[in-house]
């Protein structure tokens, strides 16, 4: 692996025993883990290509403990890596050798639900799906549904601004969070936002969501819950070319329809999925589209026919509408199993996550296929087609020397391609360590400096999750420097940030 992480601070490693002892005074019993074997369980997250056991793991149970740990680390110059369930696909929770890993798993309670105002207040270690489970008997659910929703935590969702297959219609995490309790690196506890729409000042909740654990540690989350739609129906549509499938997606949107989900798979993904779960997918098509609509039955029935007409106009070679809930779920079974299905046909796979303007899809796929040949590695594609979010799965074998490096280089080329056509490096998985060194492809040095100065406003010593998101760790003093030409510096008495 070519990843370079911040140089471990020897003076911290030398103090390891005293640091652990101090943490034990703050967090009793099994809440502090420092034996080598147990630390190994935390050495990576969902991006398993990178591994690094942390110096020590702490598992606080109260806000006061989180605050005490952070205050201690701040005072003693110790780095902190926050972790939810550890399902990040971009290495957002990758430990550092000289850092405290702050695991939030014990914050696992749903604190309150208010159906009149349609909100739930939950602790960050609650899983995404558990929020829905807690409110579904009253006909409500929590809309963002990342594919890891059984395991991933709400705190992690906030850090990564997680999406899911329904986010074109229902939004990402950021569109469904109203308020946060956050512990700052110096231990200060702040409440941001509230049970109301729109911030009273700067939208700091909006800034925190998607900040990948670099700005503060979230200890409480207020989310919006929604009434579960009356019904949902899906269409399974096959096309003989990717272009036809892409045009169908564009035409559906142009017809004023925002489906609850609109997923596309290419031929390798279709074949892998069908061989795995026998969902009844056609095997003689180049692109398979699942279009799901939800809402009142009358709406679903109406939209199914509209989408069917659009599909046929675009030359669909097969088109089936679900006539039962069982059939709808069967349509989804293959898509939802696409990743493990690809895992069956290849020893390893590497999941990418770029977004492109949808109109560029045929061109991007063609160039991706060329890259696949150049690198000698297969690629299967699943997309959130409605919002242009691609998930190319690069097939490789980690046991073959050099293949992991080739897979990573191939992945980086795909992401460069996404940016080149007007898209972005990541649609929902986050930058983490995985795409960190590609940030200059999308952002200039000045762009990144403006982002990093925000980090300085929260964490001037850069102790929270350093080595993630930004390719170069600038010191805040250096970032704050102003170069003023042709005049005196105004307000000379001011401290410069």
């Amino acid at each position: 692996m070519s990843l370079v992480m911040p140089e471990p601070d020897r003076t911290v490693l030398d103090r390891r025993d005293t640091i652990v002892a101090a943490l034990r005074l703050m967090i009793p019993g099994e809440g502090v883990i420092d034996d080598v074997r147990s630390l190994k369980a935390y050495e990576s997250d969902g991006l398993t290509a990178y591994r690094q056991p942390p110096m020590v793991v702490v598992l606080p149970e109260t806000v006061e403990q989180v605050s005490a740990v952070l205050r201690f680390c701040h005072e003693h110059g110790v780095k902190v890596v926050p972790r939810g369930s550890g399902t990040s696909l971009s290495g957002g929770a990758l430990p550092l050798e000289d850092a405290v890993l702050l695991g939030m798993a014990k914050f696992n309670r749903i604190l309150s639900v208010d159906y009149a105002d349609r909100i739930a207040v939950v602790q960050p270690g609650v899983t995404n799906l558990a929020v829905t489970r807690a409110v579904e008997d009253r006909g409500f659910y929590y809309a963002p549904d990342p594919s890891s929703q059984i395991a991933c935590s709400i705190g992690g969702n906030v850090a990564e601004n997680s999406g899911g297959v329904h986010c074109l219609k229902y939004g990402l995490t950021t569109n469904n969070v109203l308020a946060l309790q956050v512990v700052m690196i110096d231990g200060e506890v702040l409440r941001l936002g509230g049970t109301y729409l729109d911030a009273l000042g700067l939208d700091l909740v909006g800034l925190m969501v998607g900040s990948e654990g670099l700005l503060g540690v979230v200890t409480e989350v207020t989310v919006r819950i929604l009434p579960k739609p009356e019904t949902a129906r899906a269409l399974l549509i096959g096309f003989s070319t990717v272009e036809a499938g892409g045009q169908c997606v564009a035409d559906v949107i142009a017809a004023g329809i925002i489906p609850a989900g609109m997923e596309m798979m290419d031929r390798p993904a279709i074949h892998a999925a069908e061989a795995f779960v026998h969902a009844g997918y056609p095997l003689d098509v180049a692109a398979l589209l699942i279009v799901e609509v939800d809402g009142p039955l009358a709406e679903c029935d109406h939209l199914i026919e509209e989408v069917r007409a659009i599909a046929l106009k675009n030359g669909a070679v097969s088109c089936h509408a679900s006539e039962s809930e069982a059939e709808r779920l069967k349509f989804w079974a293959g898509r939802k199993a696409a990743f493990p299905a690809v895992g069956r046909i290849s020893p390893d796979y590497y999941c990418m996550d770029g977004t492109i303007p949808r109109r560029r899809l045929p061109e991007v796929l063609a160039r991706m296929n060329q890259l696949s040949q150049d690198y000698g590695l297969g690629v299967a594609n699943v997309f959130h087609a409605g919002d242009g979010n691609l998930h190319p799965l690069i097939l490789y074998d980690a046991n073959v020397p050099g293949q992991l490096d080739r897979a990573e280089a191939f992945g980086a080329d795909i992401l460069r391609l996404c940016v080149e056509v007007g898209g972005v490096l990541t649609g929902e998985h986050g930058v983490g360590v995985e795409k960190r060194d590609l940030m200059p492809v999308m952002f200039s040095e000045t762009d990144l400096a403006h982002q990093q100065r925000v980090k300085c406003a929260f964490d001037p010593q850069s102790l929270l999750n350093p080595g993630k998101v930004f390719p170069v760790l600038h010191r805040c003093a250096e970032l704050g420097r102003m170069h003023i030409h042709g005049g005196a510096v105004p307000h000379p008495a001011l401290p410069r940030f």
């Binding site: 159906y115 105002d117 909100i119 006909g139 409500f140 601004n161 999406g163 990402l172 569109n175 700052m184 702040l190 509230g194 049970t195 109301y196 729109d198 911030a199 009273l200 000042g201 700067l202 939208d203 909006g206 800034l207 998607g210 009434p227 949107i253 142009a254 004023g256 925002i258 009142p296 009358a298 709406e299 029935d301 939209l303 977004t355 492109i356 303007p357 949808r358 919002d387 242009g388 972005v424 490096l425 649609g427 929902e428 998985h429 986050g430 930058v431 999308m442 000045t446 762009d447 400096a449 403006h450 982002q451 925000v454 300085c456 042709g486 005049g487 105004p490 307000h491 410069r496 940030f497």
Partner: protein, 391 residues
């Protein structure tokens, strides 16, 4: 008040801000000036961005529109409407609230002030529809944030900071918005004669149902005798019909629900945007609370002779009165919300901050974030009366 030459390019904006950095001048960023009367009277030079106007790119099928910040809001609304689309957060023009002719509001001003209308309840606010931008920070440097696609988590979500920043972080020079299809039809279902608590309950019930309500608002008996509680349903014909039937069924216990005729519905929702019944010369406040706290808010302020209306199912109360501003602020805060002073006489605006004062720790953090973009306080004009981070 000085007025700088109007910049006509991002380079001009960067030059003007760099000049201010050199000379120690303060700059007030302005689009159409429709909200200039919000906040304390001030002396700063105005950097008028209205010449930075025009739509740069619009691809309806991609749901994305890129424009310069001085583009008039109406121009963008007309353009997207011609493609059957909309700005789903339903921004509106504040100019008429201050006796100015309509049409001055710009897209940049709408975003910088975080303006959103009735559909904000379900479709999200300005914050949820700004995808990316280019800007010049208080350092005089041009930079880019966010992107031009609808789904992106690359780097910090600075577009969230831009919305509602009131021109205190950076000058926008280009914005990319998410646009959405406009519902083919819109039906408004009304209940007459509900008390505020009944109205809030009725709206909560509608929003907690499967009727997929887009907007919910209430005009009390003082403004519309009898009081009028209305939910708006948008979408495809068969869907809207089915959902309207659901609302009538849900509201059977409250009052006989009825469809508003198209012109009556249009008048009702226009009233929510124009706030015309609150044009009585008193202070005009926008109070955000939990929706269920709306009735308690107006009950508490009733002895002060408030006139008010609910939007956002009770979560937004527009109100006007002549008393001590502290009464509104205290009531809002105690009910878990905050209050923004939209309109008042100079004497009131000189001592009452427009923005609800944040908790001290949050206020300090906001000041540090402002300093990150504007270390010398170029954009600190005194408009918001809080402790400037640089002065």
């Amino acid at each position: 008040m000085n007025t700088e030459p109007k910049p006509s390019s991002a380079t001009d904006v960067a030059d003007a801000i760099a000049d201010a950095v050199r000379t120690g001048a303060r700059l007030e960023l302005r689009g159409g000036g429709s909200k200039a009367a919000i906040g304390a009277p001030r002396e700063a030079a105005v950097l008028d961005l209205s010449e930075l106007s025009g739509v740069i790119d619009y691809d309806p099928a991609e749901l994305v529109l890129t424009a310069k910040p001085g583009t008039p809001l109406v121009m963008i609304e007309d353009l997207v409407a011609s493609e059957g689309q909309m700005l789903a957060f339903e921004p509106f023009d504040h100019g008429p609230l201050f006796g100015r002719p309509p049409g001055a509001a710009t897209i940049g001003g709408v975003l910088a002030a975080g303006v959103a209308g009735s559909r904000r309840l379900t479709a999200g606010g300005a914050r949820d529809h700004l995808l990316g931008f280019q800007a010049v920070s208080g350092r005089g440097e041009r930079f880019t944030a966010g992107a031009k696609v609808v789904k992106n988590v690359t780097g910090y979500d600075l577009p969230k900071l831009a919305t509602g920043s009131w021109g205190r972080l950076f000058a926008l020079t280009e914005v990319t918005l998410k646009v959405l299809p406009r519902g083919r039809i819109s039906v408004s279902v009304a209940a007459d004669g509900l008390r505020p608590d009944q109205a809030q309950h009725a709206m909560a019930k509608a929003l907690g149902s499967q009727a997929d309500v887009q907007a919910a608002a209430h005009l009390p008996a003082e403004l519309a005798d009898p009081s009028l509680t209305v939910v708006r349903l948008e979408g495809f014909g068969p869907s809207v019909a089915a959902r309207a039937a659901m609302i009538r069924e849900l509201w059977r216990d409250f009052a006989s629900a009825r469809h508003l005729e198209d012109d009556e519905a249009a008048r009702f929702w226009t009233t929510l945007r124009s706030l015309s019944p609150l044009d009585d010369g008193g202070q005009l406040w926008r109070v955000n609370t939990p929706p269920s706290a709306g009735p308690a808010l107006v009950a508490r302020l009733a002895p002060h002779g408030v006139r008010w209306m609910f939007d956002w199912a009770g979560g937004l109360t527009w109100l006007t009165f002549d008393g001590d501003p502290a009464e509104v602020r205290t009531a809002a805060a105690q009910l878990g919300g905050h209050a923004f002073l939209i309109r008042a006489e100079d004497t009131v605006r000189r001592r009452t901050p427009a923005l609800h004062p944040p908790q001290p720790g949050v206020g300090a953090l906001e000041a540090r974030v402002r300093a990150a973009f504007d270390p010398l306080g170029v954009f600190e004009t005194g408009r918001f009366l809080d402790v400037a981070h640089a002065d």
